[in-house]
Symmetry: C2
């Protein structure tokens, strides 16, 4: 059984690998969207499986390490890694959702109103990438700075929903297409939520503060490491 | 610092309390829906806060217990409790989403097509309640039996979405109302997903098998406890 410092290094490596896969899955689904690429969209499920398997590996290794460690610092590190892995697994699920909807959109000859979906997608993937970089670099300041950006993405998603609702009312025939776009926009917004959770976990990890549920960016002091 | 068996008992009690609160939140949001009760709907946020706070308490206690335990069995129990708490927190979030949409629906004089939303709601809350009972009773057989029911709820949600899409195309003026109903139906479906996750965790906890990501109800053997 791998344990101690060596185990922690392996765990971090697996998490980085999972982060890279989740980011690729999102990029792939969004490229499928912008290029109306059905082939890319249909390969999503298989990539999601690799992400799911890594989550299980991380959980198993983390559980083993928790048995042998007696250090509060390591326990905190390991449990946060498990949480981040869970968030990445959900990012993978959202990428699958996007790909599925792209596939449905592509069944249709008509092109869709794309609104600011490419823009919200760009901002959410930037957040995810930066949260993962902050994690790898242990840069809690950078992680903290990311958090307020989630609210802007929420607002853009709401605006997209309002625009699409108007579009449906003006042209009911477009309803199925617009509904797929709403789901895609919502999935992108959720990817930003997960990026925010990861950023909060990075802050917790390196500053010993729990900033969940306190309003984004506000800090509640928790027990120091 | 509380530790050992006493700590585990306290942790389980907090989880049960959190489960009860999450179930109440769902019941309240669904009652608000069926009775068009705006007062009930608007109290949702405050109840969600209590759920969020319990999740933080559980996480903190669990982390303390992980530092002092050296038992593989306890580590597994504690990490599963953390996961279940996370699922319950998300159940609380879905209840808040439902309540918010009920509030929007109530701004409107017209009554909505309710479709089989009360039916899907009944089935999802039954799943949640039974998953929590299986957890409290340590009844992994009961938890396992729950898992296939998730697929039926997914199918009903998809049918509701198709019906609402048809409804929108026939009567575009109803689009905002129908979109709120779609969100409510999706939230109910997600509550069933969380109940399924909890049921899978109960199986893992008491049978030492990881049944995630293997297709609902299929069992992959993992390391025994």
């Amino acid at each position: 059984m791998i344990k101690g410092e060596k185990g922690i290094v392996l765990l971090k490596d697996k998490l980085k690998e999972m982060g890279a896969l989740a980011e690729q899955a999102v990029q792939r689904s969004l490229r499928a969207f912008s290029n109306r690429d059905g082939g890319l969209a249909s390969s999503a499920k298989e990539h999601d499986k690799a992400i799911d398997e890594l989550e299980i590996e991380i959980d198993e290794l983390a559980t083993d390490l928790l048995v042998t460690t007696g250090s509060a610092r390591e326990v905190r590190l390991i449990t946060v890694i498990m949480k981040i892995a869970r968030n990445l697994e959900r990012v993978g699920d959202e990428a699958t959702t996007i790909s599925r909807r792209v596939f449905e959109l592509n069944q249709d000859q008509q092109t869709q109103p794309s609104l600011n979906i490419p823009e919200i997608a760009g901002r959410a993937t930037a957040m995810l990438r930066e949260a993962l970089e902050a994690l790898v670099e242990g840069d809690s300041g950078r992680a903290r700075a990311l958090i307020p950006r989630d609210k802007e993405i929420d607002a853009t998603n709401k605006q997209i929903h309002r625009d699409l609702t108007q579009h449906i009312m003006a042209a009911p025939i477009s309803a199925p297409r617009c509904l797929n776009l709403m789901v895609i926009s919502k999935s992108i917004e959720r990817i930003a939520d997960h990026a925010t959770n990861i950023a909060e976990d990075v802050v917790y990890l390196y500053e010993g503060r729990d900033i969940r549920h306190t309003g984004k960016g506000t800090v509640r002091l928790a027990e120091a490491p």
